[in-house]
């Protein structure tokens, strides 16, 4: 397919007609800055082909120019399909219209829509605008801005059309036969084996049932084996019994035993005689022993008697010695006792002296006490006299404080009265010249300077001048005068009463009285100090007591013997203690010796008694006679014993020759053999009867029949299990092989696609060994230098380049299949770096040899050397 011209009117950016013409086969670059309308051109192309002309709704908004109301977007194109000249035109919305001409054929309306879709390999949406999943092959080959890396969905949407149109090249990928068969096989297999290969369902049942049958059979087998073993045992027992019963070994044993017993019976009398001799010998031996012992005892007793006699002798001397010691001890004791008596006397003298000294000291002390108390009493008497004198004086000078105050108040009242009178009086002040005088009557002569209070009318007489009368004003003068007289009387009266001249005299008398009182108090205090706590009476009583005590001590002193000078009490006491200790020791020694003497005397008496009785018993004439008799008897017994011994020895030697022990042993041995053989017969009888009983029990149960049935069951179940196992194995094999072959075949079918992909990849990654995994019609993973990377995991730039390459590969295959191919790359390689871009230019150039490619870019300088046939500046159109 080759697009030659595209006309656009009232479509998005272009509200006025816009046209691109002169497009060539191979690479055409449409460039312009952002916003120039490159993407609008690409969209116009899509709209022309993908959208039904009758489409309405939101689509209107999307494709109408913003500045144009009631637009009628119109797109038309001229293109070649093969050699056929074609033109298509669609007007939307206002007057929807579509027309298509291919060569000489023309279509209008919906037919035109359908024809276009059919020719180019896409679908039409049922209602509304087209969707990505209907865009089919053009959707894959026309890469929208920024979607070159998203290959998977584009291929998926185009898959049906691709598979259909590439069938002649790739073969039938989707129906490479056996798809559903695989599922059925899986289902069948799942009934026998789990995913991990373990048995399940009927196979498990068969296994279990086989195991159960084997268990049952093995159980029966072992029972059958027991049965056989029992049966064999029984047969052996029976054989043994038959052998025994026919051989009858016990008969021989009994015969031998009887012979031995006869032999033994013949020896019996001699054995008895021998036994009797042995008994006599034993008795004689006992008598010899007893006599021997008796003699030995007597000898021992005699030795003891003589020893006791010697002992008595020895102890006599010891006894004597002890008695002397005792006498000496008695003497020492008497001396010690005297010493003690003397010491006691000395001690008593010293004690008396001490008593004297103590009593005299007491007496001295008591006397001192008495002296002190008498002195005190004396002084008390003195104090008492002076106190009385003072008390008398005090009483004489007594002037009470109240009287004194009365007097003072009266005195005050007199003075107050005078002051009052002077205050009311007229004041006469005068300063007379020198040598001048004035006669003032009763006030005398006035001279010089002064003043007078005038309380009564007066007359001043000035020489050469005459008289001046002065009468003081006011009524009180007279009253005050009267009162002054009265007060003067009272005061005088009181002074007489009190015996004083005036107030000063009264005050003096009062002070003297106070002084006397203080003296009395002082003397009283001294008296008290002298007495201390006691009062006088007590002091007197104590004095009497002390005097009594002194008398008592004196009488005691008189009672005491007269004190003699001597040693100190201390030393006499010590001397006494020592003497007492000496006396105690002497006593003790004397006691001890007394005891020893008593003991030895007792022992000697006992020994003497013993010697007397033993002597009587052993040395009496009767005792001596008896001893002699025993001696004789002993000698006779010894002779008799020797004779018997010889007899027994003789008889034993004779019997040993006929070996009676051996005969006894033979009898015992044969008896044992008989018991043994009897036991064997008994055991066999037992074994046979128990064996029979058990076999009967087991056999009656039909053991062998059951075992045979169990064996058959095992065989049958084994067959069943083997059949199922074979079926499971066969299903596994089939399923596994089928999957593997399907996978291999699909990969083979992808060979042409792989070849095209590798063609381009070799340019993109020069010198690198590559292989590609393909599945679901698209490359899945890339192996470069033995490293496999999933395409989705490649970098964004690489994914973009791989996306473009994959589309070139599809285009190559479609071209091969005679299908129209037009490639549109709208800013498809923006993420490629300069190096990769160079490789991509080579690839573009290569692909452009076979396909028309429209490349939209805003960087025309990057693509100038891509080998474009046409470069159109969209902005300049």
């Amino acid at each position: 397919m080759k697009l030659e011209r595209l006309g656009i009117d009232q479509f998005r950016k272009f509200s006025t007609p816009f046209e691109i013409d002169g497009l060539e086969s191979g690479l055409n670059i449409l460039h312009g800055p952002n916003g120039a309308g490159k993407s609008t051109i690409a969209q116009a192309l899509r709209t022309l082909f993908f959208e039904k002309h009758s489409t309405r709704g939101e689509f209107v908004e999307a494709i109408s120019p913003r500045d144009l109301a009631q637009a009628a977007p119109t797109i038309s194109a001229d293109f070649l399909l093969g050699e056929l000249l074609c033109s298509a035109s669609k007007t939307f919305f206002v007057k929807p219209r579509a027309s298509l001409r291919i060569g000489s054929e023309t279509w209008e309306g919906s037919e035109a829509d359908e024809q276009l879709a059919e020719r180019l390999g896409f679908g039409l949406a049922g209602r509304g605008a087209s969707r990505a999943d209907t865009h089919g092959i053009p959707g894959l080959l026309w890469i929208e801005q920024g979607t070159s890396g998203e290959l998977a969905s584009a291929v998926a949407h185009a898959a049906d059309s691709l598979a259909e149109r590439l069938k002649s090249i790739l073969g039938d990928i989707t129906s490479s036969s056996g798809g559903r068969l695989g599922e059925i096989l899986h289902a069948e297999l799942a009934r026998l084996l789990t995913a991990t290969g373990r048995s399940t369902g009927v196979l498990t049942e068969a296994e279990k049932s086989l195991a159960a049958a084997i268990e049952l059979r093995d159980g029966l087998r072992s029972t059958a084996a027991d049965f056989s073993a029992l049966s064999d045992g029984l047969a052996r027992s029976l054989m043994e019994r038959d052998r025994l019963e026919s051989e009858k070994p016990w008969q021989g044993f009994e015969r031998e035993k009887r012979a031995a017993e006869a032999l033994k019976a013949a020896l019996e009398p001699r054995l008895k005689a021998l036994e009797s001799s042995r008994q006599s010998l034993r008795e004689v031996n006992a008598r010899v022993d007893s006599l021997h012992k008796e003699t030995r005892t007597r000898e021992k007793e005699l030795r003891e008697l003589s020893r006791q006699r010697a002992e008595l002798n020895d102890s006599a001397e010891q006894h004597q010695q002890l008695r002397q010691n005792l006498a000496a001890a008695a003497t020492r004791r008497a001396q010690a006792r005297d010493l003690r008596q003397q010491a006691r006397l000395a001690q008593k003298v010293a004690e008396n002296a001490e008593q004297h000294r103590i009593l005299q000291a007491d007496l001295k002390r008591v006397h001192a006490e008495i002296g002190r108390m008498a002195n005190t009493l004396e002084r008390l008497a003195g104090f008492s006299a002076s106190l009385t004198a003072l008390q008398e004086q005090s009483a004489a000078s007594k002037l009470s404080k109240r009287d004194l105050s009365r007097l003072a108040r009266l005195d005050q009242s007199v003075r107050d009265n005078r002051i009052q009178r002077e205050a009311i009086a007229t004041q006469l002040t005068y300063r007379l010249d020198k040598g001048q005088r004035i006669d003032a009557g009763e006030f005398g002569m006035l001279e010089g300077e002064g003043k007078r209070s005038i309380t009564a009318a007066m007359m001043l007489r000035i020489a050469n001048v005459g008289e001046i009368g002065i009468t003081p004003g006011g009524d009180d003068i007279a009253r005050l005068e009267t009162e002054a007289e009265k007060l003067g009387d009272q005061f005088a009266q009181l002074c007489v009463t009190l015996g004083v001249k005036d107030l000063a005299d009264a005050t003096l008398r009062h002070e003297r009285h106070l002084d006397l009182e203080q003296q009395i108090a002082r003397q009283q205090a001294e008296c008290n100090a002298l007495l201390g706590e006691d009062d006088e009476a007590q002091l007197k009583r104590r004095l009497a007591e002390a005097q009594g005590q002194a008398k008592d001590i004196e009488s005691r002193l008189a009672a005491l013997p007269e004190a003699k000078p001597g040693e100190s009490l201390e030393s006499t006491r010590r001397a006494f203690d020592e003497a007492e200790a000496g006396a105690a020791l002497a006593d003790e020694q004397h006691e001890t010796l007394l005891g020893q003497v008593a003991r030895i005397e007792l022992a000697r008496e006992a020994l003497k008694a013993n010697i007397d009785s033993s002597g009587q018993r052993l040395e009496s004439s009767e005792a001596l006679r008896t001893a002699e008799l025993r001696e004789r008897e002993f000698a006779e017994a010894v002779v008799r014993r020797d004779k018997l011994q010889a007899e027994v020895g003789q008889a034993e030697t004779e019997l040993d020759a006929s070996n009676p022990q051996l005969i006894d042993a033979d009898i015992a041995r044969l008896e044992q053999a008989l018991r043994l053989v009897e036991k064997q017969r008994h055991d066999l009888r037992d074994a046979i009867s128990t064996g029979r009983a058990r076999l009967e029990t087991l056999g009656a149960d039909g053991l062998d029949e059951k075992l045979a049935a169990a064996e058959v069951a095992v065989e049958q179940r084994q067959r069943r299990h083997q059949q199922l196992r074979l079926r499971a194995d066969a299903l596994s094999l089939l399923s596994e092989r089928l999957e593997s072959h399907q996978a291999a075949l699909t990969q083979r079918l992808y060979a042409p696609l792989r070849e095209r992909l590798q063609h381009y990849l070799a340019i993109l990654f020069p010198g690198v060994v590559l292989s590609i995994d393909i599945d679901a019609l698209r490359p899945q993973a890339l192996t470069r230098n033995n490293q496999t990377i999933n395409i989705d995991a490649e970098s964004f730039g690489t994914r973009e380049q791989l996306g473009v390459i994959a589309r070139f590969a599809y285009a190559d295959l479609l071209k091969q299949a005679g299908q129209p191919t037009l490639l549109i790359l709208d800013d498809a390689l923006v993420n490629s770096d300069a190096v990769r871009r160079q490789q991509m230019k080579r690839i573009l150039h290569d692909a452009a040899q076979r396909h028309q490619i429209l490349l939209f870019t805003c960087h025309p300088e990057d693509w100038r050397d891509a080998g474009a046939r046409v470069m159109i500046n969209v902005a300049a159109c």
């Binding site: 056996g178 559903r180 027992s237 056999g699 029949e705 049958q716 066969a730 094999l733 089939l734």
Partner: protein, 375 residues
């Protein structure tokens, strides 16, 4: 005199044949058939008015049979009231404790049934014959138990009949030390008029006076003329016996191997199987190579035979399914499936995987035919 010679009744034998359904038990019917054979022998003995029925060992297949089985046998023998003379064989040896001692203990033996548990001559002067029995008292012995026949004396004028169970040395026994040997020349050496033998399940004459009667009811896939009893007539001491085999067996066992390579072979087999009836016990082992059509025919044939015979076992494990190109084309086997088929066919050639591969192919073709080619 006239008597019946039989042996190897193998009462209590159990078979492993499986039924087609739960209520179909061919094995039980075959176990029952052994009792039925005894009933027929009793009938024959009565109708032939024989002097005795001699059973030369292996009356019982096992020692430990249930009392029930023992009683049933005695009942089956009730149809003949003459003498039954029974000999212990290797399966029912007269051990210390044996099926015989149990029979005696059960006290079910009527007077006309006699056991020969000891090696001593039993004379029946009234009927003019003496029996020299060689009972087995162990399961196996390497001594010839019939040796004593040579020196055994019998009353003058009585017909001497030996009764033994084992292999005639040098004729039936391949190995020198095979168990229970019987001297080849015993009849002559012991001046026997007739030596009745058991152990060999087919009817077989050893010499003029020595016979194996075989089992009266076949019990294994061995075609050596079983299913008979022998009617023996001896006119006088020293006279040669006249021996007439009489068929009493019901089932005929047949193990057959066939090679099928194409439809003509299938047709031939069809003709062979046409004659089967409910007395047939058949085991068919099929080898060869078949296409789909023949395989299907063969399958149908086996189904038919199974319905016709008492037992029909077919082993098709070694039959290889070899679809023709036309088969494959008809099934539209192509692509991956075709490759799988090729691979499995290769594997069919490899011994260790052949069985699984063969089974896998059959499964696959079954599946394709059932599910259709497009699956």
């Amino acid at each position: 005199m006239k008597f019946l010679h039989t042996a190897d009744w193998q009462i209590g034998r159990v078979y492993g044949f499986e039924g087609e359904s739960d209520d179909h038990d061919p094995a039980a019917a075959m176990a029952q058939a052994r009792y039925d054979a005894v009933v027929r022998i009793a009938g024959l003995a009565t109708s032939e008015q024989v002097d005795a029925v001699l059973v030369a060992g292996d009356v019982f297949d096992k020692q430990a049979l249930s009392d029930h089985s023992l009683r049933r046998l005695i009942n089956a023998m009730a149809g003949y009231s003459g003498r039954w003379i029974l000999l212990p064989g290797n399966h029912d040896a007269a051990l210390a404790e044996s099926v015989w001692s149990r029979l005696q203990r059960l006290a079910v033996l009527p007077a006309n049934i006699e056991l020969t548990l000891e090696t001593r001559v039993m004379e029946y002067a009234d009927a003019g014959f003496a029996i020299l029995p060689a009972p087995l008292t162990q399961r196996q012995t390497h001594d010839d138990l019939t040796e004593w026949f040579d020196t055994a004396e019998t009353t003058e004028g009585l017909i001497r009949i030996g009764l033994a169970h084992g292999s005639v040395a040098g004729i039936l026994a391949e190995e020198i030390d095979s168990p229970n040997p019987i001297g080849a020349d015993r009849a002559a050496q012991a001046r026997l008029d007739y030596l009745a033998l058991g152990d060999w399940h087919g009817t077989r004459q050893i010499d003029a006076r020595t016979w194996y009667s075989g089992t009266p009811e076949q019990d294994r896939f061995k075609d050596n003329d079983p299913g008979n009893v022998l009617l023996v007539e001896i006119d006088a001491p020293g006279a040669l016996p006249r021996v007439t085999p009489k068929r009493v067996g019901r089932f005929r066992w047949r193990a057959q191997g066939v090679e099928i390579n194409g439809s003509s072979d299938v047709e031939q087999l069809r003709e062979q199987l046409q004659g089967l009836n409910d007395t047939d016990v058949v085991r068919l082992h099929v080898q060869g190579l078949v296409d789909f059509a023949s395989s299907e025919q063969l399958r149908m044939l086996c189904e038919e035979a199974r319905a016709r015979a008492h037992v029909f076992e077919s082993d098709l494990g070694e039959l290889r399914l070899e679809p023709t190109a036309a088969d494959l084309a008809a099934m539209q086997v192509d692509g991956a499936l075709a490759e799988v088929v090729d691979e499995l066919r290769d594997m069919q050639e490899q011994g260790d995987q052949a069985a699984v591969a063969n089974e896998a192919l059959k499964l696959l073709f079954d599946l394709i035919r059932r599910e259709g080619a497009g699956a």
